[in-house]
């Protein structure tokens, strides 16, 4: 069943470029990202801070349009419709209805002056045209589904009265109230303790299986990715540098950045007393992006080609793509002679 579903694409991003103006220059926070999300799939995006993962997810819903000048290039096709061409007021029909989002800090995303019940009902009244009573009933159902112990009591509470884990559950309940086709989860567990994180991951995976909802899961934590995602994309400075099925990526990481990222986690099998292998330096700022491969300033394998020509995204095995000159031998020579 999974196979036949895979053929259709729910969301397709083509060569997306998102730029912001800084000192009269347009700096690309997202630089040519393409991805496809199929129904029922959990896609992970990993990257350090500044890699553009959040900007990318926010531009799907065009959340940045309101507060800053922003320039989009490329296409975001949701069920065949280009979201970037839509007038902003039309986006309201999609936000929270077909595509929902949960953020890292639930307390900042919830209204402090409305009760939990009111906030969840509002979504339903707006999008599904339910009456207040119906919306209330449905909200209680949603809260129950996310595992909140006493949903009726929780409905009357204000967000600040709940703990971090409970707030995140409320956010999830609200996001899922209209049964969206796609859930964007932007670091949903980063602010939570590991035991609570485990509960929330369970919940998202369970809902994904039961409702067949697709998830775009954004995180910086390789461990979390391995627990929940079907496929992973690794981002660095606005570009996807490697993408593969989760298991494949962890068994056979190819890009030097992915390798470094995996090696420097102090996980439980690292030998103690020895130094951790590190990626030297830090992420360059957007105004300072190297000309060739974005990673060349920190890469231990970088040579002149890497510094001068941007590498192509090469498919090295089915579904496993790497953006690195190391894997593009034929292409490399051609490029060098051309330039």
């Amino acid at each position: 069943m999974m196979e036949e579903k895979k053929n259709e694409t729910l969301l397709e991003i083509k060569e997306l470029k998102v730029s912001f103006p800084v000192h009269k220059k347009w700096l690309p926070a997202v630089d040519g990202v393409s991805l496809e999300i199929h129904p029922g799939e959990i896609t992970g995006i990993v990257g350090e801070s500044g890699s553009g993962k959040s900007v990318m997810s926010q531009s799907i819903l065009r959340l940045r349009d309101h507060d800053t000048a922003v320039r989009y290039e490329g296409e975001i096709l949701f069920e065949g419709e280009n979201l970037l061409q839509k007038p902003l007021f039309r986006m309201r029909d999609i936000r929270g209805n077909q595509i929902s989002v949960i953020f890292q800090d639930p307390l900042n995303s919830l209204s402090p002056v409305h009760t939990v019940g009111n906030q969840i009902s509002e979504v339903l009244i707006l999008h599904k045209q339910l009456s207040k009573e119906e919306a209330g009933k449905r909200s209680i159902q949603m809260l129950k589904m996310t595992g909140i112990p006493d949903p009726e009591a929780c409905m009357k509470k204000y967000p600040f009265e709940l703990s971090g884990g409970m707030q995140q559950r409320v956010m999830i309940a609200m996001a899922l109230a209209c049964e969206p086709k796609l859930l964007i989860a932007d670091e949903p567990t980063t602010a939570l303790d590991v035991t609570i994180q485990e509960q929330i991951l369970h919940l998202i995976r369970d809902l994904n299986e039961r409702l067949g909802m697709s998830v775009l899961f954004i995180t910086h934590d390789m461990g979390v990715v391995s627990r929940i995602c079907h496929s992973v994309k690794v981002m660095y400075l606005g570009q996807v540098v490697e993408e593969a099925q989760t298991q494949e990526l962890f068994e056979n990481p190819c890009h030097p950045y992915t390798q470094g990222l995996l090696a420097c986690i102090p996980h439980l099998r690292v030998e103690r007393g020895k130094e951790l292998p590190v990626i030297q330096g830090s992420v360059p700022s957007l105004s300072n992006i190297p000309e060739g491969c974005h990673f060349c300033t920190r890469c231990r394998l970088a040579d002149d080609t890497c510094r001068n020509c941007p590498p192509p995204l090469v498919e090295i095995s089915p579904g496993h793509k790497v953006k690195c000159w190391k894997y593009a031998d034929g292409a490399k020579e051609r490029e060098v002679t051309a330039s």
Binding site: T195, C264, L268, V270
Partner: protein, 322 residues
């Protein structure tokens, strides 16, 4: 056995929970309750636990930023928890702290050189040239360079700010540094750099560290001995190898099982239900009772003794066989 550098006995700290109005009941919550631990010279002691378990409060009490309600903190045999501010001041030099967000601990209007020199000046170094020399020495030690001397804190990246925070602690030759989540706000690639640096500095300068973190991987990497904290008290304590080979307390076990590790495909682990409750002053029984899968009748009424189960391996649980 070497002399203890720091010995904490039955430490307790409460904070007001609600003041009850005029006639209402006043309630206080115990952030730290009946906590005892020792830190040896040259040792890294890792304190791990979820947020709200009191690990930061413990750290702050050790460096004198928070006063303890009762119990004692013996530093080289002297009880620092009951000292007056004046008596404690000379010891401040030896007990330093590194915070999670060092940027907020730095004066934004001073240059980095000035920030570090100010510390030396406060601690009695009058010679300007000596101060400057020492600052450059420390900057180099933490992987910053002379060019950073005239920069402002906001010009640094997150990792560099954290290095500066460590420099500020190191500059006056401390014996014990309390590191309160020093790498939690950093990206993993930067985190690894800072961890390596801390480990090398510790060896080089023979420092003792109290390393506080919620990240079990980080704690395991850096600590010699680990204390697992839950709800204001230690539930298990032993050296790192033993703890990971043979965790005894149910909380430690679930904590380990909840770590997402890319190479251990987690078997179907039943996530811990519920959340950490609030510990009020009349709290009874085992701290972990409300979430423990093995909880028995006795756990509800009587707090388990924090006892030595094996040599050097302490745990507080009724269910562990003697």
């Amino acid at each position: 056995m070497s002399e203890h550098l720091l010995e904490i006995k039955n430490l307790k700290k409460t904070f007001p929970l609600r003041n009850g109005g005029w006639f209402g009941k006043k309630e206080r919550m115990c952030a730290v309750d009946n906590l005892s631990l020792t830190i040896e010279k040259g040792e890294t002691y890792g304190l791990v636990g979820e947020s709200g378990c009191g690990k930061s409060t413990t750290g702050r009490m050790i460096v004198g930023l928070t006063k303890a309600d009762s119990g004692s903190i013996l530093y080289e045999g002297k009880d620092i928890s009951k000292m007056s501010e004046r008596e404690f001041r000379p010891l401040r030099k030896e007990l330093q702290m590194v915070f999670q967000n060092s940027l907020s601990a730095l004066n934004p209007r001073l240059r980095i050189g000035e920030i570090l020199e100010e510390i030396l000046q406060i601690h009695g170094e009058q010679d300007k040239a000596k101060r400057r020399k020492r600052v450059l020495e420390v900057l180099e030690k933490v992987g910053l360079s002379e060019e950073h001397y005239f920069r402002f804190p906001h010009e640094l990246s997150g990792g560099q700010v954290q290095r500066l925070g460590i420099a500020g602690a190191l500059i006056i030759h401390p014996k014990l540094i309390v590191c309160d989540e020093p790498v939690s706000a950093l990206d993993v690639s930067i985190q690894a750099q800072i961890l390596n640096m801390l480990m090398n500095l510790k060896k080089e300068l023979r420092l003792s560290l109290l390393f506080i973190s919620h990240d079990i991987g980080v704690i395991r990497f850096i600590s010699d001995r680990i204390g697992v904290m839950y709800l204001g008290t230690l539930v298990e304590e032993t050296d790192t190898e033993t703890l990971f080979a043979n965790p005894l307390h149910p909380y430690t076990k679930t904590l380990f099982a909840a770590i997402p590790d890319p190479y251990i495909q987690g078997g179907e682990f039943q996530a811990l239900t519920g959340e950490q409750p609030v510990r009020t002053e009349d709290f009874q029984g085992c701290a972990f009772y409300s979430r423990c899968p093995y909880a028995k009748e006795i756990c509800k009424k009587q707090a388990p003794e924090f006892r030595e189960v094996e040599p050097g391996h302490k745990a507080a649980c009724h269910c562990i066989e003697k």
